[in-house]
C-alpha cells in the first residue's frame, strides 16, 4: 500500500503479550495444554484486530493523501503510543510460557537436538507466505488490491471500494504481525521493548528484498536469518550490526532492494 508502517512492531508486541497472557491463564486453569496453540492464535487475533481497525479508520484514513514520509511519521507516533498502552495493559514484568514449546519435544538431526516447535514454525511461515502470494495473484480480491495500490483514483473510478481494500490490507498485515508475535511468544520471554527490536529487523528484511515484494521479503528474511546465525557462530562480536551492514551493501548495489521493479520517472 506504499505505507511504511512502524506500528507493525507494536502489533507484534501486542500479539506476543496477548498470546502469552491468555495462554498462561488457559494453562493455569488446567485446560488441555494441546489446545494452547489454538489459544495463541485466537488471543492474538481477538486482541489485535480492534486496534488495527481503529487505527486505520480513525487515524490513517484522513492522511493517505499525504507524503509517504508523513505516514511513516504518523505510524511512528502511533508506535510510541502503543508501546505505552502495552505497558499499561500488561505491566513491565516479563511473561514466560514455555509449555507449547516444550510440549512438542525435539528430534535429532545429524546428532543435534532440534525443537519440533521451530520446525512447525517454518512450515507455518511457508503456509502464510504461500497463502499470501496466492491471495494476491490468483484471487479477484488480490488482483483488485494490486490495482488499488497502483492507482487508487482510477480504481475508484472503476467502482472499486478503495477504502475497504485499504482497511482489509492494513488489518491483514497487522494481524499477521500479531500472529508472528504470538508464535514467537513461547520461544522467548515477552518483555517491553519487543516491538522496537523486531521493527528495525523487519525493515532490514523488506528493504533488502525490495519494498512491496513478497518473494523479496522471503529471500530477505532468509538472508537476514542466515547472516545472523553465521555471525553468531563465527564472529559473535559483529552479530548486532551485521544485518544493517548487509542492508547497506544491498542498497549500495541495488538501490531499491533485490526484487524491486523499475520505477517510472515523473517529469
Amino acid at each position: 500500500m506504499k505505507i511504511v508502517n512502524v506500528t507493525h512492531g507494536s502489533f507484534y508486541a501486542i500479539g506476543a503479550y496477548a498470546a502469552a497472557s491468555m495462554t498462561a491463564a488457559w494453562l493455569a486453569h488446567g485446560y488441555p495444554p494441546m489446545l494452547s496453540y489454538a489459544v495463541l492464535v485466537v488471543a492474538a487475533i481477538v486482541v489485535a484486530a480492534p486496534f488495527a481497525i481503529l487505527i486505520e479508520r480513525v487515524i490513517l484514513r484522513p492522511l493517505y493523501s499525504r507524503d509517504e514520509v508523513v505516514i511513516l511519521l504518523v505510524t511512528y507516533a502511533l508506535f510510541l503510543i502503543l508501546e505505552d498502552v502495552v505497558k499499561l495493559i500488561w505491566g513491565v514484568n516479563p511473561y514466560f510460557i514455555a509449555e507449547p514449546y516444550a510440549l512438542l519435544g525435539s528430534f535429532q538431526v545429524a546428532g543435534m537436538a532440534y525443537p519440533t516447535y521451530n520446525l512447525i514454525l517454518v512450515a507455518v511461515a511457508l503456509f502464510f507466505g504461500g497463502g499470501l502470494a496466492w491471495l494476491l495473484h490468483s484471487t479477484r480480491a488480490g488482483k483488485l488490491l494490486l490495482a488499488v495500490i497502483h492507482d487508487p483514483e482510477v480504481s475508484r473510478a472503476m467502482g472499486v471500494n478503495v477504502g475497504r481494500y485499504y482497511l482489509a490490507t492494513f488489518a491483514l498485515g497487522s494481524l499477521l504481525a500479531a500472529l508472528a508475535g504470538a508464535f514467537t511468544a513461547p520461544t522467548v520471554s515477552v518483555v517491553p521493548g519487543l516491538g522496537v527490536e523486531v521493527i528495525v529487523l523487519s525493515f532490514a528484511v523488506v528493504v533488502i528484498g525490495g519494498l512491496g515484494s513478497l518473494p523479496g521479503a522471503a529471500v530477505g528474511a532468509v538472508m537476514v536469518g542466515l547472516v545472523r546465525s553465521l555471525s553468531v557462530h563465527y564472529m559473535p562480536q559483529v552479530e548486532l550490526f551485521v544485518i544493517y551492514f548487509v542492508m547497506a551493501v544491498v542498497l549500495a548495489l541495488r538501490p531499491r532492494g533485490l526484487f524491486s521493479l523499475a520505477e517510472p520517472r515523473k517529469i
Binding site: L73, A77, L78, L80, E83, D84, V238, L240
Partner: protein
C-alpha cells in the same frame, strides 16, 4: 511566505536579540533550567541540520549517527588526550562527523524518499552495533567524560552551567546565521526545487546529487557539534545515542518546529525538552504516549510545524 509581497526578514535581529537576552538573564536562571536549555541547544543544532535535509524532502532516520560520533569524539578527546575544552570538543566533534558525512554522502546522495531514511538508519545502527561491542569505549555502559573547561579555565561550580550555556548559545547563533545565509544562496534555494521535482532541477543544469551531498555534510557536521555539546553537558555518553529512537526524537523536534526558519529548531527543541520533562514528571510510565499523541496532533493539525502557526498569526 507565499503571499507574493516582499516582507522584511527579521531572523538575524531576532536571533541576536534572543542570544543577548539569554546571556543577560542567564545568571538568574535556576540550574535545572540552564541544563534543559543547554540540552535543547544541542538538540537544536542537530535539528538545524535536519531542517536542511527536510527542505529538500529528505528525512534522515540516522542523524543519531553523527550525533553519537560527535559525542564520542568529544569523549575520546578527554579520555585519550586529556582535552576538555568545550570549544575544541565541539570543533572536533563537528569535524569528525562532517568528514564521515562527506564519505557516506557519496553513497547516500543517490537515494530519495523512504530509501534515504532507511539507509541512513542502517548506517547509524551499524555504529550502534560497533560501539556496543567495543570494550575500550565502555560497551553498552559508555563512559563519563571530563568536566568541561573554557579556553583552559575551569569556571567555578556556580558558573559552569552558565558558561556552558552561553558558549553553546554562541555556537548555535553562529550556526543558525550561517545556515540562514546558506538557505539564500543558489545552492540553498535548490532544496525546495529538489523536493518538488528533481528532474526539472537537472534540466536546469544543476546537480541535485551534489546539492544533497553538500546538505548532508552540513547536517552531519551540525549533528556532530550538537553531540559533542550534549556529551559535555550530560557528562556521560553511551551507544544509545546512535540508536534509531534517538534519530526519531530529532525528527519529532523537526516536525514540531517546522522547517520555515532557522530559529525554529531551537524553539522546537526547548518545547520538546519541556514536554519530555513534564510528561516524565507527571507519568513516568506513559511519557512516550504523551509524545506520540503530541506528534500525531501536530502532523494532523499543524503540518508545517509550530512555526507556521506563529507566522500565520503574525503576517496575516
Amino acid at each position: 511566505m507565499k503571499q507574493g509581497r516582499i516582507r522584511r526578514d527579521h531572523t538575524v535581529a531576532i536571533a541576536f536579540a534572543v542570544f543577548v537576552l539569554l546571556a543577560a538573564l542567564g545568571p538568574w536562571l535556576p540550574q535545572w533550567a540552564m541544563f534543559i536549555m543547554t540540552v535543547a541547544v544541542a538538540r537544536g543544532l542537530v535539528v538545524l541540520g535536519l531542517l536542511l535535509l527536510l527542505r529538500a524532502g529528505l528525512v534522515s532516520f540516522g542523524q543519531a549517527l553523527f550525533y553519537c560520533l560527535g559525542a564520542y569524539s568529544a569523549g575520546a578527546l578527554g579520555r585519550f588526550f586529556g582535552i576538555s575544552d568545550i570549544f575544541v570538543e565541539m570543533l572536533v566533534g563537528g569535524a569528525v562527523a562532517a568528514a564521515t558525512a562527506f564519505v557516506l554522502g557519496f553513497l547516500l546522495a543517490r537515494y530519495r524518499g523512504i530509501f534515504f531514511g532507511l539507509l541512513s538508519l542502517a548506517l547509524s545502527m551499524i555504529l550502534y552495533g560497533l560501539l556496543v561491542k567495543s570494550e575500550a569505549l565502555g560497551s553498552t555502559d559508555g563512559f563519563n567524560i571530563l568536566p568541561s573547561t573554557l579556553f583552559g579555565v575551569r569556571p567555578g561550580p556556580d558558573w559552569v552551567r552558565y558558561a556552558v550555556l552561553v558558549s553553546a548559545a554562541a555556537v548555535a547563533l553562529v550556526a543558525a546565521l550561517a545556515v540562514h545565509r546558506y538557505l539564500n544562496t543558489p545552492l540553498g534555494r535548490l532544496a525546495p526545487a529538489i523536493k518538488d521535482n528533481e528532474i526539472r532541477v537537472e534540466y536546469m543544469g544543476a546537480s541535485a546529487r551534489r546539492a544533497v551531498h553538500v546538505k548532508y555534510v552540513i547536517a552531519g557536521g551540525l549533528a556532530g557539534v550538537g553531540g559533542a555539546l550534549a556529551a559535555t553537558v550530560v557528562g556521560h555518553i553511551d551507544p544509545e545515542m546512535a540508536y534509531w529512537t534517538t534519530s526519531g526524537e530529532f525528527i519529532f523536534i523537526a516536525i514540531l518546529a517546522g522547517t520555515g526558519n532557522v530559529i525554529a529548531p531551537f524553539v522546537g527543541a526547548l518545547i520538546y525538552g519541556a514536554i519530555h520533562t513534564m510528561a516524565y514528571d507527571l507519568s513516568p510510565n506513559t511519557w512516550q504516549m504523551t509524545l506520540g499523541v503530541a506528534l500525531l496532533l501536530l502532523i494532523v493539525f499543524l503540518p508545517s510545524g509550530l512555526w507556521s502557526a506563529f507566522s500565520r498569526f503574525r503576517w496575516r
